[in-house]
């Protein structure tokens, strides 16, 4: 059972996405078009402000609420940087900076230097970089870092894309004057961790969509005189798909809610590793059940699978996070292994 804010957000994102995220919408976004009306709806409903504190004009929601939106992005394959903007709003909120109006913010990552409040360097494969007006970065690897908000200038972005044809720009900064520079007590690793949470939730949503499409297709497609859903071979495969979809949803929810409880790495690292394992199994089954039609551009299955194959490598692959978990487990020792699982802290 969801609380009132969560329910409201959930209803609102479902309504907006089911109205606007059509196949045509995704296809034109893949061609580089900005989905203006979809984005406007999202902004009008304040979905980008879910993690912005109320005193800064935001919704003041929880990470669990944000997780609901992240999952919906994955489930509908919404071709917009809503997740990134939610996270940007959270980071700015930590620095008491309100979300700048009429802006689209991306998360910067790469070799960036700050000197006299001017940012230089290249942010690599920046999500939706060439649609964004601003970037947020954390400069510094220790607890004395700077949170930076910079404008993204015209002609500074490349038009690179991931295999889902979502913008992943390299953005070049040459002494770009920052709008805000705030001293903060967290390091640039925070973006990696929150990025992993955000992608884990999106993946969990994307996997739900694989299950949904596969079940529907199996009930429609007739071979040997009956829907293929009636064959035990297909039923058993789809059941396996469903178990991993269920596990991914739980792993993602646990990670979101752990951010509300202080943000230990255990749940987030677990989520990214767990959903990565699920993708290998689920994408394979979904495509197998769909047969050749699922391999065409015309059919929409790939809008999910291509995103899943891209997202799993972003903000640390499953293997990256598994290694972090394993390293901590062995350094804590066998006697502390179970207590770390029950406390949710490693």
């Amino acid at each position: 059972m969801l609380n009132e804010t969560s329910q409201l957000l959930s209803d609102s994102v479902e309504k907006i996405f089911s109205d606007h995220v059509t196949k045509d919408c995704i296809i034109s976004a893949e061609k580089g078009e900005w989905p203006e009306s979809l984005w406007n709806e999202v902004i009008e409903n304040g979905l980008n402000l879910v993690l912005v504190p109320e005193n800064l004009g935001g919704v003041g929601g929880s990470w669990f609420d944000a997780g609901i939106l992240f999952k919906a992005i994955g489930r509908y394959q919404a071709p917009i940087p809503l997740a990134e903007n939610i996270v940007a709003g959270y980071l700015l909120g930590l620095g008491e900076v309100p979300f700048p109006e009429n802006s689209i913010i991306t998360l910067l990552d790469g070799e960036l230097q700050l000197s006299d409040n001017k940012l230089s360097g290249v942010s690599h494969r920046t999500p939706f970089g060439n649609h964004s007006t601003h970037g947020v970065a954390i400069i510094g690897d220790n607890s004395k870092s700077k949170l930076v908000l910079v404008p993204i200038l015209d002609n500074s972005t490349s038009d690179d894309k991931n295999i889902a044809l979502e913008s992943r720009s390299n953005i070049e900064f040459k002494d770009v004057e920052a709008l805000h520079v705030i001293d903060v007590d967290f390091s640039s690793d925070l973006i990696l961790k929150i990025g992993a949470l955000m992608r884990s939730c999106q993946i969990a949503g994307g996997l739900e969509s694989l299950l949904d499409q596969s079940v529907r297709y199996a009930n429609e497609r007739i071979q040997f005189g009956r829907p293929i859903a009636k064959f035990q071979a297909i039923q058993q495969e789809l059941a396996v798909l469903a178990t991993h979809v269920a596990a991914s949803g739980v792993a993602a929810d646990y990670a979101s809610s752990s951010m509300d409880d202080g943000g230990d790495e255990l749940a987030i690292a677990s989520a990214k590793s767990r959903v990565d394992d699920a993708i290998s199994i689920c994408a394979s089954i979904a495509h197998q059940v769909h047969g050749a039609i699922g391999f065409t551009y015309e059919h929409g299955l790939h809008f999910s699978t291509r995103r899943l194959w891209s997202w799993r490598a972003e903000y640390g692959s499953g293997g990256y996070w598994a290694k972090i978990l394993g390293e901590k487990a062995v350094s804590n020792g066998a006697d502390n292994f179970w207590p770390s699982i029950t406390s949710g802290k490693i």
């Binding site: 529907r216 269920a246 739980v250 929810d253 690292a269 394993g326 062995v330 020792g333 292994f337």
Partner: protein, 381 residues
Amino acid sequence: MNTPFNFRLTKFPNEAEILRHEVREFLSDALKDVPKETRAETWYGADENFSRKVGQQGWIGLNWPKEHGGAGRSSMERYVILEEMLTAGAPVGAHWISDRQSGPLIIRYGTEKHQKELLPGILKGESYFCIGMSEPDSGSDLAALRTKAEKKGDIYLVNGTKLWTSGAHRCQYMIALFRTSQEEDRHGGFSQFIVDLSLPGVTIRPIIDLAGRHHFNEVIFEDVEVPQDMLIGTEGNGWNQVTAELALERSGPERYLSSYMLLQELVNEFSNKNDDEGVTEIGRQMSHLTTLRQMSVSVAGMLDQGENPALEASVVKDLGAVFEQELPNIAHRLMGLEPDSKGTDFQRYLAILTQISPSFSLRGGTREILRGIIARGLGLR
């Protein structure tokens, strides 16, 4: 369609976390002398002395209502006891079934007489129950079972054979599903009975498993006269009563923690090695363990709220069994050591778990049956 599953995150209440520390303290003393291979068996391992100690703590029937002698605490608190016992390798096998499902069944369907006579022994950790479902010609197809209970005056005359009955040789009672009539509906005509295993005509024969252990049995009924008042619930309603038990049987921590000791031992082994592959694999298994635990706890929460999470329980059991079965193979791949029941701690865990792992996806509902249930939940059948 969104997923048909209803997993909601469930948090343990504070009192459960307090209890967790009490349980850990108790176990660190109670398990001092339990050998490694017994620990690796977790709920396959049985020790009546240990069960009595657990009963003395008041930790059997923890979530039963007070009027039935239970502690009236939440299922979440009971869950803590179970998971702490399993991960410590406590030999909980003797009282496990009675605490998990026989007692709750007696509370739900039993007469006052059943409750007065049978529950106190369970609560003390002295009275043990087994489950009589499978038969020689009725495994996954439970409705094919043939053991008959014919009403004759004030008794039922029982003839037939139950098979794969875990722990029957150390139990006083069996809760058995018998056929009481032949109906058109293939799920009709079944009834549940509480059978005193000391009755004349009951023969319990051991079946030795592939690891040489005696856990399950063949239980033969020859003209056994079961008193009429030992029918539990409603005559003819046995199928529904049995399926209601399944969520209890399929979602607990025992459905993903069977190989836990091996994972903990791997953490120990890799503490002194500089091995990225091993460490990464340990982390990967942690991610599965963490997720399964949240799923299983979620089902416990639903049970606590009086919901019927039968579908979710099947998901937990299927994924849990895959996880438990994979661990011995992963341990082998990472360590390359022979499973050896006289070797190092690691080798002893590996020896027992490698051998018993095939049972993980058989007991309590086979993988194929569970996936069939899930497929039905998806609207495929």
